[in-house]
């Protein structure tokens, strides 16, 4: 596999002839392999390779994200097929993962907080009001299918609550990253970097990324769902001072965010339906916490 991929990179001008790079490989539990290509200790490229997926759709999403968010997004360099492998090559950026403490708690970093608020401000500029009703209908249909399982009737009712869907129909379409979790965020030379555009734009419901960011800070623990629903404004303002301004940047109130939470959680599960059991378990557990918060 590696000789084939390196040959493809040389053919597409991504590697100099004669260069024999080092590489680390991650064998995902999905349908792709991630390869980090190094030369002399410098990360040259980040490759996503798949035999089962053309990656065309993901490459287009990545390009759209780059267009929308500029330097926050690592530039995609090329999509090519080599042998039986489809490859997306992105510029290698060895950015440091964003640590939780920089967004939550006493040691949070103003620069990082401002960058996160700025991300959501930028996201709001992508708002588009065309075909809102149709998009809401498609989302509702997808969530009904996701929750078409025995034993989750009350949860389904909660997710499909009419008042929340009235709100959804009023909101503009706004392309969401789709997996805006801490492990996909990094900090590089004073700026926020966001990775993984596999699901960019699949969800267009404002606030979805903000919800996933909030929950990822607490590793999607059910208690985090309860906290968001029940915490008073002063508590949230103290611990997560960026939450309300980020909502405001998206044109949402905190009350709206809370009303949308069941839909956000169900949409997150819907996006993760083709992932491995561990990831689905995390998404399901957070969604089920809604039932618990009703009963608790």
């Amino acid at each position: 596999m590696i000789p084939v991929v390196l040959r493809g990179m040389r053919e597409h001008g991504l590697l100099r002839a004669g260069l024999d790079p080092d590489f680390h490989i991650t064998l995902t539990q999905g349908d792709a392999i991630h390869v980090r290509v190094y030369e002399a200790g410098q990360l040259l490229y980040f490759l996503k390779c798949s035999r089962f997926n053309s990656l065309q759709d993901e490459y287009e999403r990545h390009r759209q994200a780059r267009e929308a968010f500029g330097s926050t997004v690592v530039p995609p360099r090329a999509l090519f097929k080599t042998g039986e492998w489809n490859v997306i090559a992105s510029v290698g950026v060895e950015a440091m993962p964003l640590r939780r403490a920089r967004l939550f708690g006493d040691r949070r970093d103003r620069e990082v907080v401002a960058a996160v608020e700025g991300f959501f401000r930028q996201q709001a500029t992508l708002a588009d009001s065309a075909h809102r009703a149709e998009r809401a209908q498609r989302l509702a249909q997808s969530l009904v299918e996701t929750l078409d399982r025995p034993g989750v009737t009350s949860l389904r009712e909660r997710v499909m609550a009419p008042h929340a869907w009235d709100l959804v129909r009023e909101l503009p379409n706004m392309p969401q990253h789709g997996d805006f979790v801490m492990s996909n965020l990094a900090w590089l030379q004073g700026r926020l970097m966001v990775f993984d555009y596999e699901d960019f734009g699949r969800i267009q419901l404002p606030g979805f990324d903000l919800t996933t960011l909030y929950l990822s800070l607490f590793e999607f623990e059910p208690s985090a769902v309860e906290r968001l629903l029940r915490a008073d404004d002063a508590e949230l303002a103290t611990q997560l001072p960026w939450l309300r301004p980020s909502c405001a940047n998206l044109g949402l109130s905190l009350a709206n965010m809370r009303a949308l939470l069941p839909i956000h959680l169900a949409a997150f599960l819907s996006l993760k339906r083709n992932y491995g059991p561990a990831v689905r378990h995390i998404a399901e557990r957070a969604l089920l916490a809604l039932d618990s918060s009703d009963n608790g």
């Binding site: 080092d22 490989i25 392999i33 640590r99 399982r149 089920l288 618990s292």
Partner: protein, 249 residues
């Protein structure tokens, strides 16, 4: 939290789950082991040989893309037969017979099933034979336990490991292989997830990033110790599992 039985509810939600046709191709450990042994290949090998020593072969259960011939060394070198390692490791195949030879933990078995002090000689003889039966550009690939990691972690006595990364490299070189690639395989060869090149500069950059992500969960002393280990690239010596491959040039 009250009112809901999570395991039961999750099971109910999972009842309807089926593996989709796409999206989870590498879900099973076997699928990722197959991928591990595809890493060094330029195409689909026509003729693959897996060498085992009283253990179950792994390639056949990975749904390997071509027929796999399995050769078990147990009868020849795991018994009390007399003879020199060179004779007992003879492979009953003509020169240049295979595109790929896989030894998944075979060298671990050699270390554990041959008399102490002779394991290195058996391994050297076996690798020479593998070099002989590979065609030009054919690849030997395998996984083995890192003896240094086991010693450093105080686990050396439970299972004998033949050697460490440098030792395996020397054995391969003595057998005639020159273009040798050595990796850490995490969490281990039987459920591979991450394959890390052992080149110091590459592994340092990767380890720094991983350590940074864990920083909030470490005391400053713990962080400082790990940071020193990262800068000195100790990590690469501490992984139990090694993956190696080398094409016959």
């Amino acid at each position: 939290m009250g009112g809901i039985d999570y395991p039961t509810a999750l099971q109910r939600m999972a009842d309807k789950e089926q593996l989709p046709e796409v999206g989870l191709q590498y879900e099973s450990d076997a699928a990722r082991i197959r991928l591990l042994y595809e890493i060094p290949l330029s195409g689909r090998p026509n003729r693959a040989l897996e060498i085992v020593m009283g253990t179950k072969p792994v390639l056949p259960r990975t749904n390997w893309s071509s027929p796999v011939l399995v050769h078990d060394l147990q009868g020849a070198i795991g018994s009390d037969n007399a003879g020199e390692p060179g004779d007992r490791c003879k492979l009953p195949f003509a020169d240049g017979s295979f595109d790929l030879v896989v030894m998944h933990r075979t060298l671990d078995a050699v270390a554990n099933r041959t008399p102490s002090g002779e394991a290195q000689a058996y391994a050297a003889a076996l690798l020479s034979e593998i070099h002989r039966v590979l065609r030009a550009d054919g690849v030997v690939a395998g996984c083995a336990t890192n003896r240094l990691a086991r010693m450093l972690r105080g686990k050396g006595r439970a299972v004998r490991a033949l050697s460490s990364a440098g030792g395996y490299r020397r054995l391969l070189a003595r057998a005639g292989f020159s273009d040798i690639h050595m990796f850490n395989v995490l969490p281990g060869p039987d459920a591979p997830h991450t394959v890390l090149n052992m080149a110091p500069r590459a592994i340092r950059a990767f380890s720094r990033s991983k350590l940074h992500a864990r920083r909030d969960y470490l005391s400053w002393v713990g962080y400082a110790m790990r940071r020193i280990a990262t800068e000195l690239t100790f990590d690469r010596w501490l992984a139990d599992g090694l993956f190696f491959y080398s094409p016959k040039r």
